[in-house]
C-alpha cells in the first residue's frame, strides 16, 4: 500500500533560519497522525511546507504516490486541504459564509454549488440559518466549523489540521474534536494534525511524532503515551507537563 503522505528529509529555511532540519514522516491512508511540540519546534512549519505555504529548501514530499514539484497544481488542492488554528483569522472578514464556501467551488469550476454548500453546512452541524452570516456574527466554534466545511467542500482525501482547537474553550474543543472524528469516519480521511496538547493528540491520533527545534525527537504510537513507553527525556517532560502542576516537596 502506498502511503498517503510522505515527507522525506524536508528542510525549510526562512532567511538563514533553519526552521525544519530534515524531517521525515510517512502517513498511511486513513490514518490520523499527530505532530506534537512546543513553539518553534517546526511542527506547523512541516504542515505549511506540505501545503506549499513554506519554502522547502531540500527534501521531497509525496502525496498519494505522486511527488510534488515546487509549485502545487490544482489537482493537489483537491486532495489536500487545511484547517487553521485561529478561527478568527482564517475567515475573510468581509465575506459571508456562503461566499467563503462558494470560493473553492468557483476556483475549481465545480457546479451545483447550491447543493454542495447546503450539504457542507449540514455536515458540520450548522443549519442553513448560518449561511448568510459574516464571520463576526459567529462564535469561535462556529467559525471553526465553517473552516472545516470549507476544507471539506473540495472533497479532499487528506486534511492538514494546524492546532484546530487550541483557540477554543474546552467545551467547544470537545465538540469540534468530535466533529473531526465524525467526518474522518464518514469520509475515510487521512489526518495530519498539529497540536501542543498531548492529550488532544492522544485522543485523535493513532501515531504521533514529537518534535523539538526543527528536529523529530521520536515517533510513537498513541498507546505508548498511555503506557508511558517513551524513550526520550523531552517526551517524558511533555508527558509530565500534561498532567498539570505538581507542588514540589
Amino acid at each position: 500500500m502506498t502511503a498517503a503522505l510522505v515527507a522525506d528529509r524536508v528542510e525549510v529555511v526562512f532567511d538563514q533560519f533553519r526552521a525544519l532540519k530534515g524531517v521525515s514522516v510517512a502517513v498511511q491512508p486513513g490514518e490520523s497522525f499527530g505532530l506534537v511540540g512546543e513553539s518553534g519546534s517546526g511542527k506547523s512549519t512541516l504542515l505549511r511546507a506540505i501545503a506549499g505555504l513554506a519554502p522547502v529548501a531540500s527534501g521531497s514530499i509525496t502525496v498519494n504516490g505522486k511527488p510534488l514539484g515546487r509549485r502545487r497544481d490544482k489537482a493537489f488542492y483537491r486532495q489536500v486541504q487545511m484547517v487553521f488554528q485561529d478561527p478568527y483569522g482564517s475567515l475573510h472578514p468581509r465575506q459571508t459564509v456562503d461566499r467563503l464556501l462558494q470560493e473553492p467551488l468557483a476556483i475549481h469550476g465545480i457546479g451545483d454549488s447550491e447543493v454542495r454548500i447546503r450539504r457542507a453546512l449540514e455536515e458540520v452541524g450548522l443549519g442553513s440559518g448560518f449561511r448568510f452570516r459574516y464571520s463576526h456574527q459567529l462564535s469561535g466554534g462556529q467559525r471553526q466549523r465553517v473552516a472545516i466545511a470549507r476544507a471539506l467542500i473540495l472533497e479532499p482525501s487528506i486534511l492538514l489540521l494546524d492546532e484546530p482547537t487550541s483557540a477554543l474553550d474546552a467545551s467547544v474543543q470537545a465538540e469540534v474534536l468530535n466533529l473531526l472524528e465524525q467526518v474522518r469516519r464518514d469520509r475515510k480521511l487521512t489526518y495530519l494534525m498539529v497540536s501542543h496538547d498531548l492529550a488532544v493528540i492522544n485522543h485523535m491520533c493513532e501515531r504521533l511524532m514529537v518534535m523539538q527545534n526543527g528536529v523529530a525527537v521520536e515517533q510513537l504510537a498513541a498507546a505508548d503515551l498511555v503506557s508511558h513507553n517513551v524513550a526520550q527525556d523531552y517526551t517524558k517532560r511533555l508527558l509530565k507537563a500534561s498532567e498539570g502542576f505538581v507542588r514540589a516537596g
Binding site: 468581509r94 459571508t96 448568510f132
Partner: protein, 308 residues
C-alpha cells in the same frame, strides 16, 4: 418576524438580523450598519449634505442659474456689487457671478470624478500587486511610485499641463497622474497587513490564482481606506484644479471654472472683492464638505470596527 408586521421597526429588525436569510439581506444589513455608524457623526452628515447639494446644483445648473454663465451685459452691468438682481454681483465682463458659480459646479464635479476614477484604480492596482507579489515587482513598482511622490504635486501637474497643452481635460490627466502614488502606498500597506493572514493563506491552498486573490480577496480589504483617502483628497484636487485654472493652465476662458474665476478677479480684489471671493467661497464650502464626509467615512468604513 410575523408576516403581518410591516412597520418601520420590523424593517430595522430585518436589516439588523443576526440570521440573514439571503445574500441580499446580508449585504443590506451590512450597509445599514455602516450607514448607522456614519449618521452617528453629525458633521459627516453635514458634509454629505454639502456634496449632495453640489451634485444637485451641477445637474440642474440650467434651471437654477438666473443668467447665462458666459455672455454678460458689458454696457450696463460690469462689476456690480451683490444686490437683489445679482446675488453674488457681476464680473468685469458683466456676467452674473452666481450663474458662473452654479455652472462652475459642473466643471468641479467633472474634474474630481474623473480624477478619482483614474487615480484611485491605478493606485489600487499598483499597490496591491506590489504588496502581494513582493520581491522585484514590488521594488520596481514602488520606486516608480517614489519618483512621482518626490515631486511637489502642483509642480508636476504644471509640467504635465505644459507638455500636454492647457485645457480642462489635460488638467484632469495631469492631476490624476500626480495623485495616484499616495493611493498605491496605502493599498500596498494594507496588502502587506493582510497578505500573510490565514484567510489569504486559506484561499491560496484552495489553488486560487494570484490575480484572483488580489482582485477578490485583497482589494476589498483595501477599498475602504482608499475611499476615505480619496474623499479627503478631493478638497486638495479641487484646489489644484483651481490653482491650474488660476495660472491659466486649466480651464480656458470663458469656461466658468472656479479657480480661473478667482484668477480673473484678482485684478479687482481691492475694490470689487466679490469677483474673487464668491468662487473662493464655493471652493471653501465644497472642500469642507469633502473633508467632513471623508472623516465620517473613516469612522463608518473602518474595517477594524466592523470586521474582526
Amino acid at each position: 418576524m410575523s408576516v403581518t408586521d410591516t412597520s418601520a421597526m420590523s424593517w430595522r429588525e430585518w436589516l439588523l438580523s443576526e440570521r440573514p436569510q439571503s445574500r441580499s439581506q446580508a449585504r443590506l444589513g451590512r450597509a445599514y450598519m455602516t450607514w448607522r455608524r456614519f449618521t452617528a457623526n453629525q458633521l459627516a452628515v453635514v458634509g454629505l449634505f454639502i456634496i449632495l447639494a453640489l451634485v444637485f446644483v451641477a445637474i440642474f445648473a440650467g434651471l437654477l442659474a438666473p443668467y447665462s454663465p458666459v455672455v454678460g451685459d458689458l454696457r450696463g452691468s460690469r462689476l456690480l456689487p451683490p444686490d437683489w438682481a445679482h446675488w453674488m454681483g457681476t464680473d468685469d465682463q458683466g456676467r452674473d457671478i452666481l450663474s458662473r458659480v452654479i455652472y462652475g459646479s459642473r466643471l468641479t464635479l467633472y474634474v474630481i470624478v474623473l480624477v478619482a476614477l483614474i487615480a484611485a484604480p491605478i493606485g489600487l492596482v499598483v499597490g496591491t500587486v506590489a504588496g502581494y507579489a513582493g520581491g522585484w515587482t514590488d521594488a520596481v513598482l514602488m520606486r516608480i511610485t517614489d519618483i512621482f511622490l518626490a515631486f511637489p504635486k502642483l509642480i508636476l501637474a504644471l509640467a504635465f499641463v505644459a507638455a500636454l497643452g492647457p485645457g480642462i481635460e489635460n488638467a484632469i490627466i495631469a492631476i490624476a497622474i500626480t495623485s495616484w502614488p499616495p493611493y498605491a502606498r496605502i493599498a500596498r500597506a494594507e496588502t502587506l497587513m493582510v497578505r500573510n493572514s490565514d484567510y489569504i493563506k486559506a484561499v491560496e491552498i484552495m489553488g486560487a490564482s494570484p490575480g484572483r486573490i488580489i482582485l477578490r480577496h485583497i482589494m476589498p480589504m483595501c477599498i475602504s481606506s482608499l475611499i476615505v483617502r480619496v474623499t479627503l483628497d478631493m478638497a486638495g484636487i479641487i484646489i489644484i484644479a483651481a490653482g491650474l485654472g488660476f495660472l491659466g493652465l486649466g480651464a480656458q476662458p470663458p469656461l466658468p471654472e472656479w479657480g480661473a474665476m478667482i484668477a480673473s478677479g484678482r485684478r479687482f480684489i481691492l475694490d470689487q472683492w466679490w469677483v474673487a471671493a464668491m468662487p473662493g467661497m464655493a471652493i471653501l464650502i465644497v472642500s469642507l464638505g469633502f473633508n467632513l464626509l471623508g472623516d465620517g467615512l473613516r469612522d463608518a468604513l473602518d474595517p477594524r470596527s466592523s470586521g474582526q
